[in-house]
Amino acid sequence: MSILIEAKKVVTSFGKNIIHDGISFAIQKGEIFGLLGGSGSGKTTLLREMILLQKVTQGEMNVLGHNVSELSSSEAWALRQKWGVLFQFGALFTSLTILENVTIALKEYTDIPDYLIEESARMKLSLVGLPPKVTTMFPSELSGGMKKRAGLARALALDPKLLFLDEPTSGLDPHSARGFDELILNLRETLGITVVMVTHDKDTIEHVLDRFIILGNKKILFDGTMNMLRQTSDASLKTFLN
């Protein structure tokens, strides 16, 4: 096992408002890792720091062996191609069709022949459970759940080794949510992906996550597995069990 992401005493603040006060954790290769915590505890901010959308105020955040605060622009460019990100509401490009949304990264970054790009993209759309007819549709014609699936297909387009998911099951009906969970487990199994996700979904936490941290009071309240959480006596952490 090797460490893919490591946070060392990360401090984040917006002006005087401190979000994270020196938090440290590590994510192993092949793990499905969860960032948990109440609203406003800075889960999404932490995720955004890992994907270079937000600067770390102090401390060190290492992603795939690079300190994100000390990247040159070409290193950052290369790093961005090594991961896929699914945003909370899909964040599909509304002016492109679903197929174009998935193929755009492949067209920009690789010299794969066009027919193969299209086949790969359609395979990935089918893999995330979208019917063939949506490929030519625009994001505005899709439901929220379908947008998320398409967003996941886009995140998987470059075959990333690292996948970031921001609340992948929020806004989905329970049946679709479980389908999504299975899909993520399946992807880890077949593609060997490491997954980092922000989630609130109790079923996801229980069945999908290998390990997770719980953020609260600007610190990490808990770092471990579900079984370890069950044995804890801390009352405030118990709330995450129900």
Binding site: E118, R122, K124
Partner: protein
């Protein structure tokens, strides 16, 4: 490059091929692989034995290419056997095969004449729909305005003042500049002509009437149209995209009261004030040139205005202003509500909104100009 992918082809007899795939088969080497696999072909009913033992690394793109080749060979009635798959490889291969897109995407055939006719038809229908929805919008707006006038307490004073500040007061610097320059331009061009006749003093009528009656109101309206109708369209459009407009309606807040009427009233109030300001500045611009080029002093200029320039020109200019304001606000808001869920439509309708607003301001100015002249005013 190390570990470049390559094929090792051994032909056991005329219809049996043993193919060993070696090296790294990932997206970075796909272009090479594609060139290697393209020429691979055999007589009908040949047997291809794909050996995967020597593949060092692979991803879905490499596997998709292998699958593509297998399907191609199978469509030539060849048989493909697969041997030596690692557990991981076979798992990914199975998944990719299960989701391999079999039926091609149906692309409609395009024939340019039919496309042309179709587009023309669409444009006409679209224009008709826009026209009817604009009428329905103005109708509803008139109803909302009537309701509000009977119950003035429903006017959102704070929102209205906010829009007066942002669409009116903030426009003062740019209106100062444009009006001043217009005053200078008229006086300057007039000065050279009038000087020839020794009719220097007529610069007063020339500048004052053209500025007060036509140019100051028109230019002010165009500047405000450019600044505010685009802003209104974008604001309302983004609120529609983020469902804020729906949230408002669901909570029982009428979007008319909260969004449209404050903007409409703000411009109806702000524009006459801006026009008054533009009147003063453009005449001042003319006065500056009159003194320097034609020796008509400030006092002479002002005395002459009082003597010869009828008040009606000033009033006509001011009466047009609220009409222009209403046009700008109505078009800005109407186009805003037309924006749908795509981000592209924000740009599209913002542009349309400005173009429409400027056009209708000029058109309305022409109509009023002809109408009043026919009336003898």
């Amino acid at each position: 490059m190390q570990n470049t992918p390559f094929l090792h082809i051994a032909q056991t007899n005329s219809t049996t091929f043993d193919i060993t795939l070696c090296g790294i088969w990932t997206r970075d080497s796909i272009a090479t692989i594609d060139k290697i696999l393209k020429p691979l072909t055999g007589k009908p009913h040949s047997l291809f034995r794909f050996n995967f033992t020597a593949i060092e690394d692979f991803d879905t793109h490499g596997i998709m290419l292998i699958l593509h080749t297998i399907k191609r060979l199978e469509s030539l009635t060849c048989t493909v056997e697969r041997i030596g798959q690692s557990v991981h490889f076979s798992k990914l291969l199975t998944i990719c095969e299960a989701h391999f897109p079999n039926e091609p995407i149906i692309v409609k055939n395009h024939f340019f004449l039919l496309d042309y006719l179709e587009n023309t038809g669409k444009t006409v229908i679209e224009g008709y729909k826009t026209l009817t929805s604009f009428f329905s919008f103005t109708g509803e707006l008139a109803h909302a305005v009537a309701e509000v006038l009977f119950k003035p307490a429903r006017i959102r004073i704070k929102a209205m003042l906010y829009h007066i500040e942002h669409s009116g007061a903030s426009a003062i610097p740019i209106i100062f500049l444009t009006s001043f320059l217009i005053g200078i331009v008229i006086a300057y061009q007039g000065a050279t002509q009038l000087e020839k006749f020794g009719a220097n003093i007529f610069i007063v009528e020339m500048v004052t009437i053209s500025a007060l009656r036509e140019l100051a109101p028109l230019l002010t309206a165009i500047v405000v149209a450019g600044r505010s109708s685009s802003a209104y369209t974008a604001q309302i459009g983004v609120m529609k995209i983020t469902d804020e407009v729906d949230a408002m309606s669901a909570m029982g807040f009428s979007p008319w009261d909260f969004l449209v009427i404050p903007r409409l009233f703000a411009l109806i109030i702000a524009l006459p004030l801006l026009v008054l300001f533009a009147d003063i500045i453009s005449v001042f611009g003319g006065m500056v040139i009159a003194t320097t080029k034609l020796d008509v002093s400030f006092t002479e200029f002002i005395d002459r205005i009082a003597e010869t320039v009828a008040l009606k020109h000033f009033i006509i200019g001011l009466v047009k202003a609220p009409i222009f304001g209403a046009i700008i606000a109505t078009i800005g808001c109407f186009r805003g509500f037309q924006i749908d869920s795509s981000t592209e439509s924000v740009g599209k309708y913002t542009t349309i909104s400005v173009v429409n607003a400027i056009f209708w301001v000029i058109a309305m100015d022409a109509i009023i100009s002809v109408f009043l002249t026919e009336l003898g005013l």
